[in-house]
């Protein structure tokens, strides 16, 4: 999830704003270095010697390291370590941190085999929204100069037979391209006739169209006909799924709600019980004091007996009676409601763990096992 990713960035890298905005001139130089990186990767990606030369010629430490790591064909996972060990991401080098992160992201993405244009978009996002959009426009203009051309090459397969029908639903086809991802989409389209490829490419913008075209050229070189047919089948499966999935989900939900309205989810009960048993008594007590009687009653429905005992021991006898009265008056609830009740409790527990005044850079000190359980519970749908 996006916000989770953002929170993790803050935890790992701290506040990007702390480092101060680079001056206009410095920013322009950095943007130029990214342009050059795109150029070099496009022209010398397979040429390790040329990448070594680039590394030697680079003045900036982060750029030098990026080229060096790519020249030595470093694994994506090791690139992160290399940047960390280089000191570029450490406290002493904080003024260069956004730039170091930019080069780390770019190098990792290239090593992961992501298309250079997409890598460029990722890297330019580190300059902020305004620059990212102007760089995107620059990239769109740049695609016009591309000379990549496809030749007629048809691989008989499921998609080749049905593409004309599929093109009658452009929105669904666009969505399938995004869901399948460009590598799979390009492998599937690689076997279609030029007539249809042109129509497909018109469904995406110029940058996307060029990426797909280059990937199709590459797929035709790398893949045999059978593999292209398999990609076609996989793409078509996704395309079909795009149509049936929402309907099926609706049917399943409807049927589930009607047939099994009150069936408790054993996994939910187990997880919530473990959270109650693992949380510190002091924290749990504070959490319960912030909950209403009916909220505690709802929580009890999501727990095994052993956790009932622990929980009830943490509230006063008078409150125990009130909670039990609420339970007696309450009708049966659905499993969906039980999940929401358990999640509400988990959110309140987290809030109790949070100190009143969080200092910058501080993360919640929750035991690892408990963190995992809460994360799992809150992530459930």
């Amino acid at each position: 999830m996006l916000i989770e990713r953002l929170a993790q960035m803050y935890v790992h890298w701290g506040n990007a704003g702390q480092t101060g905005e680079p001056g206009r001139r410095k920013k322009d130089q950095s943007v130029l270095a990214v342009h050059q990186f795109l150029e070099v990767i496009e022209n010398t990606a397979e040429d390790r010697k040329a990448l070594f030369t680039q590394s030697q010629q680079s003045r900036r430490k982060a750029t030098k390291l990026a080229y060096l790591l790519l020249a030595s064909e470093t694994e994506p996972a090791a690139i992160h370590d290399a940047f960390r060990r280089s000191g570029l991401l450490s406290g002493g080098q904080r003024s260069n941190k956004p730039e170091a992160l930019l080069w780390l992201a770019g190098t990792e993405a290239i090593a992961r085999g992501i298309h250079p244009y997409i890598v460029f978009l990722i890297m330019s996002s580190y300059f902020g929204l305004e620059t990212a959009e102007s760089e995107f426009r620059w990239l769109q203009e740049r695609t016009k100069a591309s000379s990549t051309k496809l030749e007629e090459y048809i691989v008989p397969g499921d998609l080749t037979d049905t593409i004309e029908e599929a093109l009658k639903e452009p929105e669904r086809l666009q969505r399938t391209i995004r869901v399948a991802g460009m590598p799979l989409s390009a492998s599937a389209f690689a076997g279609c006739s030029l007539y249809y490829i042109e129509k497909i490419l018109a469904l995406v913008g110029p940058v996307g169209a060029l990426i797909l075209t280059e990937m199709m050229v590459s797929a035709r070189k790398r893949l045999v006909s059978d593999e292209i047919s398999t990609a076609q089948q996989a793409f078509l499966d996704l395309f079909t799924q795009e149509e049936t999935e929402p309907e099926m989900a609706e049917e399943e939900t409807g049927a589930g709600e009607q047939a099994l309205p009150n069936l408790p989810d054993p996994e939910l009960i187990q997880t919530t019980t473990n959270i109650v048993m693992d949380a510190e008594a002091k924290i749990l007590k504070a959490t319960l004091s912030a909950m209403s009687d009916s909220e505690i009653a709802s929580l009890l429905r999501c727990l095994e007996a052993i956790a009932h005992e622990r929980l009830l021991n943490l509230i006063s006898p008078g409150r125990q009676k009130r909670v039990l009265m609420v339970i007696q008056k309450t009708e049966n609830v659905t499993s969906g409601q039980m999940l929401r009740d358990a999640q509400l409790f988990a959110q309140k527990l987290l809030a109790t763990y949070a100190p009143k005044n969080l200092k910058p850079g501080v993360t919640l000190s929750i035991p690892e096992k408990l963190r995992g359980l809460i994360s799992y519970l809150l992530g459930r749908e």
Binding site: A16, M182, G205, L350, T363, L364
Partner: protein, 156 residues
């Protein structure tokens, strides 16, 4: 009066599972007043409307399709969607943009909501799913009320 991190129910909902990775810098950046929070539901309505329109007319990858969109973050996100980029890539780009964003408070929160909406549009999610992701940004109470209201309307 600014809402302190964790002092308000809307934060509980906003940080469902991601809350456990909570960081004080991010909390400070996202904090805003209750009055400011009132502007979020109409903005979510706008995002849902954009999604609905794109759902009907499709995304035309032309240069000026989103030119009328004044919200720069949303406009850029939609431009990336129109290029056919996968949700995973979009998430990477949008999270970096949020990370380096110089905005604070409600303006930053709006960017977060816009980013979620862009991802939802890219992944072809229906209106209900989109709202389930966006409404918690308004606070758990408002989100639950809105979802219950929608559910009863659908049942009718």
């Amino acid at each position: 009066m600014p809402v302190r991190p964790f002092s308000s129910p809307w934060l509980y909902a906003l940080y469902y599972r991601q809350m456990i990775y909570w960081n004080a810098d991010l909390a400070a950046k996202i904090a805003c007043t209750r009055q400011e929070m009132e502007t979020l539901p109409p903005y979510i309505d706008h995002l849902v409307e954009v999604s609905r329109t794109l759902g009907h007319s499709g995304i035309q990858p032309t240069a000026d399709q989103f030119a009328s969109e004044k919200d720069a973050f949303l406009r850029y996100g939609l431009l990336l969607v129109s290029e056919g980029l996968a949700g995973e890539i979009l998430e990477e780009i949008l999270s970096v943009l949020l990370y380096v964003s110089g905005l604070k408070g409600i303006e930053f929160l709006r960017q977060c909501v816009a980013a979620e909406a862009v991802l939802s549009i890219a992944n072809g999610e229906d209106e209900d799913m989109m709202l389930r992701k966006l409404l918690p940004y308004c606070g758990i109470d408002k989100a639950l009320t809105a979802m219950t209201k929608r559910k009863s309307e659908h049942a009718d």
